[in-house]
């Protein structure tokens, strides 16, 4: 056990020398880093034997009571298999800021970063394939942001299509021909070959 504690202590010494701020809660150690130095910090931690990247995830602190500083936090959950130690690295960042990708260290970071991108809209520089992973491609917005509408709100999609709950229910009861409140023209997906929706989105991206 004493060796294990020593590993974490050694790592923490190195990290604090590199500008990290340590915090601890219920035995869980996390170290806060500046956005610019995070890649370096991950490299240090990895060289010390934290060879398993458990997870990468975002937290939106927008409505957290008493929170000050940047809106988002991205946390890296790292684990040293041989020593059985866990360590969290955290970066605070604003909506407009980007992070470097970890796919150079672990190729498995691919899906994790895509999920953060999908759910929070945080981009990762140098990611080989940064696109949405779970939500529909034309869904506008990032569901895990705290300002994403909840309950029975009409959900807007990129192409002008949106899901209107009342119309959706009416369609299910057979009182209305449409299941979605399609905003213009024929509803996508009813007739094959009608690609009006795709054209609209292409114009938008150009």
């Amino acid at each position: 056990m004493s060796d294990e504690t020593r590993l974490l202590e050694v790592v923490l010494k190195d990290l604090e020398a590199a500008g990290g701020k340590k915090s601890e809660f219920k035995g869980m150690v996390s170290v806060n880093f500046e956005r610019k130095t995070i890649l370096e910090a991950v490299g240090v931690v990895r060289d010390h034997g934290f060879n398993h990247l458990s997870d990468i995830f975002g937290i939106d602190y927008e409505s957290y009571p008493g929170h000050q500083g940047p809106r988002f936090t991205v946390a890296y959950n790292l684990y040293a298999i041989a020593e059985g130690e866990r360590l969290f690295l955290r970066v605070d960042l604003n909506e407009t800021e980007e992070l470097p990708t970890l796919t150079g260290f672990w190729r498995g970071a691919n899906f994790m970063e895509r999920e953060v991108f999908d759910m929070f809209g945080i981009s990762f520089q140098g990611h080989p394939n940064l696109r949405k992973i779970i939500t529909p491609e034309d869904l506008d917005g990032h569901p895990h942001r705290k300002d994403f509408p909840l309950d029975e709100t009409a959900t807007l999609f990129n192409e002008g299509r949106f899901l209107d709950p009342a119309a959706f229910r009416a369609g299910m009861m057979g009182r209305d021909p449409g299941l979605t409140g399609w905003a213009g023209g024929a509803r996508k997906g009813v007739r094959s070959g009608n690609m009006s929706g795709v054209d609209a989105s292409q114009k938008e991206t150009e």
Partner: protein, 409 residues
Amino acid sequence: MSIPNTGYDVREISRETTGSFDTRHMRINVGPQHPSTHGVLRLVVDLDGERIARIMPQIGYLHTGFEKTMENRTYQQGVTYSNRMDYLHGFGHDLAYVLSVETLMDAQVPERAQRARVILTELNRIASHLVFLGTGILDMGALTLFFYTMRERERLLDIFELVSGVRMNYGYFRVGGLSTDLPEGFESAVREFISEFPTMMEQYATMFVQNDIFVNRTKGVGVISQDLALDYCLTGPSLRASGVSLDFRKAQPYSGYESYVFDVPTSEEGDAYARFMMRFLEMEQSLAIVKQALDALEPGPIKDPDRRISLPPRHELENSMEAVIFHFKLVTEGFHPPRGEVYVATESARGELGYYLVSDGGSMPYRVKVRVPSLINLQSLEPACVGALFADMVVNIATMDPVMGDVDK
């Protein structure tokens, strides 16, 4: 915000296939409705002749927004959502969730509840591996074993139904203990299963371990080296098949796993055969744990006596005003953990599973992040499949054992 076109999206894929004509690679679509994808997994595969040049999982068909929903429910209500993610190993998800909340609350779980949790989680692990074995070998064309494994799984589901009232989506664990005590007849039902299951395992073994067709289709197929497994963040039995002995029941014991004697089977091969055998051998170990836990199961309390967490006993409501107040507060608004963030890693049937909870001091979690094993393990299809035969892709999907509810959340 527009989506950057850095990779392949569905529109681009269709545009490419219709627009340009690539004679080297053929792009085909597998799923999302295909029996061998174990749910709604969709794969876009580039083929170079019979060999796979590129494999791109397209997921999200089963996205339900469990994390966001749990952020808008009280902590105690969370157990109705956790088990719906991995519907084959629901008790594992329930356990991971309540462990995180209990760490946040400093709850003291009584021994009987701990033992009951271990018994149920391990039996559920066996049930999950039985589905894996049956459907995995079904994908290779061996129909018989499926009926055998489903027969035994049915008996396990009967036990779970006895305990929780439902066959899946149990929601039986509570923060601080269990919802009710184990019912009468539980112990004898489990003992009967324990005594009969080893002979069933022998039957399975004769059906696939020495089966020439099975061995030829899995030995040396989809090899993932130890380095690649760590590179792709693989966990669970698939990682142990590649020679890394990482099992959170041993590495960071929870729920009293340190008091049970069991082995963590590992293999150096890293191929599909090893991944099959890991799960098969794990069932034996799970059975040993269940046996030990059952022998040590003593009558006693099943909930944390702390009134901040557990409901007061029914009889107290009749003559204690204080009990009524606690009952009212817990039912209407739930408890308020201190501000902070916790994560407890557990070993589900598929790999590392943990709930990262952010508490803002309110009665609902501020943020729930589930580290689901299936989603991250799915990436390992790439090292396993690229360069391999298309027919072996089905074997590789089966041995990764993804549950799509666990992938899409």
